[in-house]
């Protein structure tokens, strides 16, 4: 069983990083231990610093939820393309709901920041814009572990 309480809470600095408009990838698995993954748009760290809501397109959420409803283990990788700073949150799926209209502006704000970051490494906005943002699903996860994921010899070490 996965622990209910988080072992490591998310620091303010890390929360700001997670919400700063990053490349977000969410990993799940099925009953055969076959891994799967989808791209997400945005994230919000809850005030308790132990839960994260991840926003992703409905179509992607559908495929992911088929795994999560049976196997709640979830991994979310947050990465900034220009610096490759990255961290991975692991934990368990709590709930899913349609994203509210009031959340759309923040989702689009994070996408815009991410697109600007991509431009800095030569991926033009023409390539990264024009996406269908809405309708979004909001997937809530409880974080039980946090890991450093910046590439290099320290990748995979727990973040305190």
């Amino acid at each position: 069983m996965w622990p209910v309480a988080a072992k490591s809470l998310i620091s303010d600095e890390l929360a700001a990083f997670i919400e700063s408009g990053l490349s977000i990838n969410v990993g799940t698995r099925d009953s055969e231990l076959e891994p799967d993954g989808v791209v997400a748009w945005a994230a919000r760290v809850h005030d308790d610093r132990a839960q994260i809501t991840i926003y992703l397109h409905n179509d992607a959420a559908d495929a992911m939820l088929r795994n999560l409803r049976v196997h709640p283990e979830i991994a979310a990788l947050f990465e900034r393309p220009t610096s490759h700073r990255a961290c991975q949150a692991k934990g368990s799926f709590l709930s899913a709901r349609p994203a509210k209209a009031s959340e759309r502006a923040e989702v689009e704000n994070q996408i815009d920041k991410f697109s600007k970051d991509l431009e800095a490494i030569g991926i033009p906005r023409a390539m990264s814009s024009g996406s269908q943002v809405w309708p979004c699903a909001a997937i809530q996860m409880r974080v039980s572990e946090l890991f450093e994921q910046t590439p290099g010899p320290g990748a995979g070490k727990p973040l305190q």
């Binding site: 977000i24 799940t28 698995r29 891994p35 993954g37 791209v39 397109h57 490759h84 814009s129 590439p151």
Partner: protein, 466 residues
């Protein structure tokens, strides 16, 4: 299943890929991948650089999924994989190792940013993600435009055309320029350089370049340094795309390594040519197992060097190597036997005059290098040749022009030229071009096949230093 061959654009490393794995205990993991390499119609290779969570998961559970992107259309493809083996040698490993080491040498991370193995995976299925949230819906217009911009330049017809043009070059000097001009006019490569092997086994020197304001003739590259040095060392073509992104990735590794107490090498190798190239291609020029030089092509856009280009690139390298070698042999065998006058003539009007009363030319014996008015000009054999020419010129009265032949230089024991393959012609071309760039008051003018004049636009003061 979608054929892997149709996804070659996805394997250029222009857009990062994503790897999903799962531990035996059922905990998923997501990771960034710098590059997914095509191996054959059923296999891909992932670089193994660190013992990370993905690697541990794969050792417990061979199932993996990788998501790659076509940089032309931004369409995503999900490849379901099964781990087969880790290779630590062989062509796939070597190709990946060289690309990673090229990036490492640019960022001063040799020994830290390195390939431990090429993890070979069988591709079980390929799924096109028709609607990829987070990326735009596939754009046929964008795709066709990108395809048109990045059409394959290496074709038999293009190779035939380059062959025809090169045949028209009468001298080695003309041939070198013809090669680079043709690369631009036929293949569209606006930035290129040719480096030839020198008398020092671990060094190459730039003898011709195109598309760079500073020229750079005479620049040296050591074996193993940067893409050119690695091409020389491995004698294999190396192509690196998405250099900026890969250097950022390497820089992140370097920062992380420093925090772990590992010390990256201090020495950084400056990128040749363009300040921020997006793609580089290095091609070894080999004749009968002998490396005679390296051709380096750069683009400031993300040119896609496709897998099918590889064979053409190797053919092109072989062809250019033979053409250069033949030009060297031809010039040597057609050298004039007759004695030429060393009587000074009036300097050509085109040789500019120095602003100073006399140029101070210093030859440092221990380093075998020449400085003009305190600035480095040239070293090694070209320096010894110039020193000799200037002395002879002075002996036959200062000012004006004195004529020499390659043959006479070749027979001069003080130059210590090897009896076989002395590269004298290429050294003279390098010296002449270097003078044109850095010291136009001293001019070497071709006056016939195998003969040339030294023309001075100024008096020179020769100073020999220990």
């Amino acid at each position: 299943m979608i054929a892997l061959e149709s996804l070659t654009s996805c394997f250029q490393g222009l857009i990062p890929s994503w790897l999903y794995t799962c531990s035996r205990a059922g905990v998923p993991n997501a990771a960034i991948l710098s590059h997914v390499d095509y191996v054959d119609s059923r296999h891909v290779a992932l670089s193994f650089q660190f013992f990370n969570k993905s690697k541990r998961n794969i050792s417990e559970n061979p199932r993996a999924k990788v998501r790659v992107y076509d940089p032309d259309s931004m369409r995503a493809y999900a490849l379901r994989l099964r781990f087969v083996r880790t290779e630590t040698e062989g062509p796939t490993f070597e190709s990946m190792r060289l690309r990673i080491e090229a990036i490492a040498s640019y960022t001063g991370l040799k020994g830290i940013f390195k390939l431990l193995g090429a993890d070979i995976y069988e591709v079980v299925s390929v799924e096109a993600i028709d609607y990829e949230p987070g990326m735009p819906a596939p754009s046929p217009a964008l795709h066709s435009r990108a395809q048109a911009e990045t059409r394959l330049p290496f074709t038999l017809k293009a190779l035939q055309e380059i062959s025809d043009r090169i045949h028209q070059a009468g001298t080695l000097d003309c041939l070198l320029d013809a090669i680079l001009e043709t690369l631009e006019s036929i293949f569209g490569f606006r930035h290129s350089m040719l480096l030839l092997a020198t008398e020092q086994p671990d060094r190459l020197e730039m003898i011709a370049s195109r598309g760079y304001p500073e020229g750079g003739v005479g620049s040296e590259v050591r074996a193993g340094e940067g893409i050119i040095g690695l091409v020389a060392e491995a004698r294999k073509p190396i192509r690196v795309a998405g250099i900026l992104r890969q250097m950022l990735y390497a820089a992140a590794v370097g920062k992380c390594a420093q925090e772990q107490g590992l010390k990256p090498a201090d020495r950084r190798i400056p990128l040749p040519g363009l300040q921020n190239p997006e793609s580089q291609l290095g091609v070894p020029l080999i004749v009968r197992d002998e490396l005679i030089g390296v051709l380096c092509i750069e683009t400031d856009q993300s040119y896609r060097f496709h897998e099918e280009d590889r064979a053409y690139i190797e053919v092109l390298g072989g062809y250019l190597a033979i053409a250069i070698q033949n030009a060297l042999l031809k010039e040597r065998t057609e050298e004039p036997e007759e004695h030429v006058s060393t009587k000074p003539r009036a300097a050509a009007a085109s040789v500019p005059s120095s602003r100073h009363p006399a140029l101070k030319v210093e030859y440092y014996k221990s380093d075998e290098c020449i400085l003009v008015d305190g600035e480095y000009l040239v070293r090694s054999l070209p320096a010894k040749i110039l020193w000799k020419l200037l002395h002879e010129h002075q002996a036959h009265q200062a000012g004006g022009a004195v004529e020499f032949t390659n043959r006479r230089l070749r027979l001069d024991k003080t130059l210590n030229l090897p009896e076989f393959k002395d590269n004298l012609e290429s050294r003279l071309i390098l010296l002449r071009r270097r003078l044109e760039e850095r010291c136009p008051e001293i001019h070497i003018a071709q006056s016939g096949r195998g003969r040339f004049r030294l023309e001075l636009g100024s008096k020179v003061e020769l100073v020999e230093q220990p």
